[in-house]
Symmetry: C3
Subunit: 155 residues, 3 copies
C-alpha cells in the first residue's frame, strides 16, 4: 500500500508463512506498529463541544483498532471544558455507551480534580467517573505521562 | 484518593513521619510528581482570544501549584495569534499582573521573532517582552525543547 | 539577540572565523538548532478551515527555513477534517503550489487511510496524494512517530 509497507516485506512474508500474526481489525501489516503508550488531551473545544467529543471518541476507537487492544495503552486526561464529556454522557445513553465500549478496549479515562474543585462540579454527577479516576492536576498529568514515555495527542 | 495514590502508601507514610515533605499548594502526595520540564504552545485560538489567554494562564498557574515551583520548569512559546497575549496585556493591568505572577513562579515566556517580523509588530509594544525573550522561530523552538526532554502541552 | 544566543558566543565566533556555517535563511546562529525530526498533526480546525490550512503551511515553511532543509525532517499527518487540505488544493492552484513547494523542501505529507474509508473519499480526488502517502491510521501514526523520536506540534 505504501512505501513504508513495502519496506516491511519481510514481516509480511513471515506473516504469510504463518510466522507472526496479522492483528484482527488492523489494516497495518504485522510489525508496522510497535507497542504504544499514548495520552490524549481532552480540554473540550467550543463552540460545538458535542461534535468535538464525538470526534475524540472516534479517534480513540480507531486508534485501538489500528494498533490492537493488547498493543496500546491509552489514557485520556480530561480537564477544563473537557470534563463536559462526562456531564453530557450522564444524559446521553449513546455517548455513555461509547465511553463504556472504550473502557472495555482498555482505554483509561482520567479527570482533573482541580477542574472539579474550581468549577464546583460534584464527581458523582459525572458519568462513570470514580474516585480512582481522579488525578490532582490534568496539565501536570499530561507532562507526567509524557516523561514516562507516553506520546501526546491533542485532537 | 485514587489507586495511584494508594500505591504511594509508603511515600505517604514517610511523609507523615516527617521524612520527605508534602509540597505546599499541592494536592498530590510527595513523590507523585517527578521533576518536570514542559513547553506550552500558545498559538492563540479565535474567535475568543481573551478567553483562551485566560484559560492558558490558569493552566500555567495550576500546573506550577500542583508540582511545586522548585520542581517544574515551564516555557511558554507564543507564536502567530498567540503573540496577542502580550498586546492585550499592554492595555489590561489584570492580565499583565497574571503574567508577572507567573514569571515570579518561574515560568518563562518566549516569543517568536518570525511572527513579529512578518506582522511588523514592534517588540516594545508587547507587555514585558525583552530582547532576551525572543526565539528565532516559535515552531522550531517547540521541537528543540521537546528534543531536550520537555513535555509538550497545547491548551 | 537573546541570552541563549549570547551563550552561543563560541559558535558565533567560530562562524565569524569561517569555521562552521551560518545557514541560509536562518536567523539563528550556527549551532542553535540540533537536527530535528517533527510530526505535525493536521486535524483541520473549523469553522474557517481555509485560514487554518494557510497558517499550517506557513508554519511549515517557517520551520524549515529556520532550521535549514538539510537539518529537519518533517512529516505532516492529516486526518479527519485535515484531509480537506488536499480537497481544497485540488481546486486552488495557489494552495497546491504551496504544498508542492514544501515537498520540494523535504516535507512529507501523510494521509489517514481510515479517514478516507470512513468518509468514502476517493484518494485520487485529493491533490498530490499517492498510494505511498497513505498510513493506516493517522492517530496511530502520530504516536508511532513520537516513539521514534519525532517532536509533536499541533498548530
Amino acid at each position: 500500500m505504501t512505501t513504508v509497507f513495502r519496506s516491511l516485506a519481510l514481516a509480511v512474508v513471515l506473516a504469510t508463512m504463518g510466522i507472526g500474526t496479522v492483528r484482527a481489525g488492523s489494516e497495518a501489516p504485522a510489525g508496522y506498529y510497535a507497542d504504544q503508550k499514548v495520552v490524549y488531551h481532552n480540554g473540550g473545544s467550543g463552540p460545538d463541544e458535542a461534535a468535538y467529543f464525538k470526534r475524540l471518541l472516534a479517534n480513540l476507537r480507531n486508534h485501538v483498532e489500528a494498533v490492537g487492544k493488547a498493543h496500546v495503552e491509552i489514557r485520556v486526561v480530561s480537564l477544563g471544558d473537557g470534563v463536559g464529556l462526562f456531564q453530557s454522557a450522564a444524559n446521553d445513553k449513546e455517548l455513555a455507551g461509547r465511553i463504556d465500549a472504550l473502557k472495555g478496549m482498555g482505554v483509561r479515562f482520567l479527570v482533573c480534580a482541580n477542574t472539579l474543585r474550581e468549577r464546583k462540579i460534584d464527581r458523582t454527577t459525572l458519568y462513570g467517573v470514580g474516585e480512582d479516576d481522579l488525578v490532582p492536576s490534568g496539565v501536570a498529568e499530561l507532562a507526567r505521562l509524557q516523561a514516562m514515555g507516553f506520546a501526546y495527542i491533542h485532537p
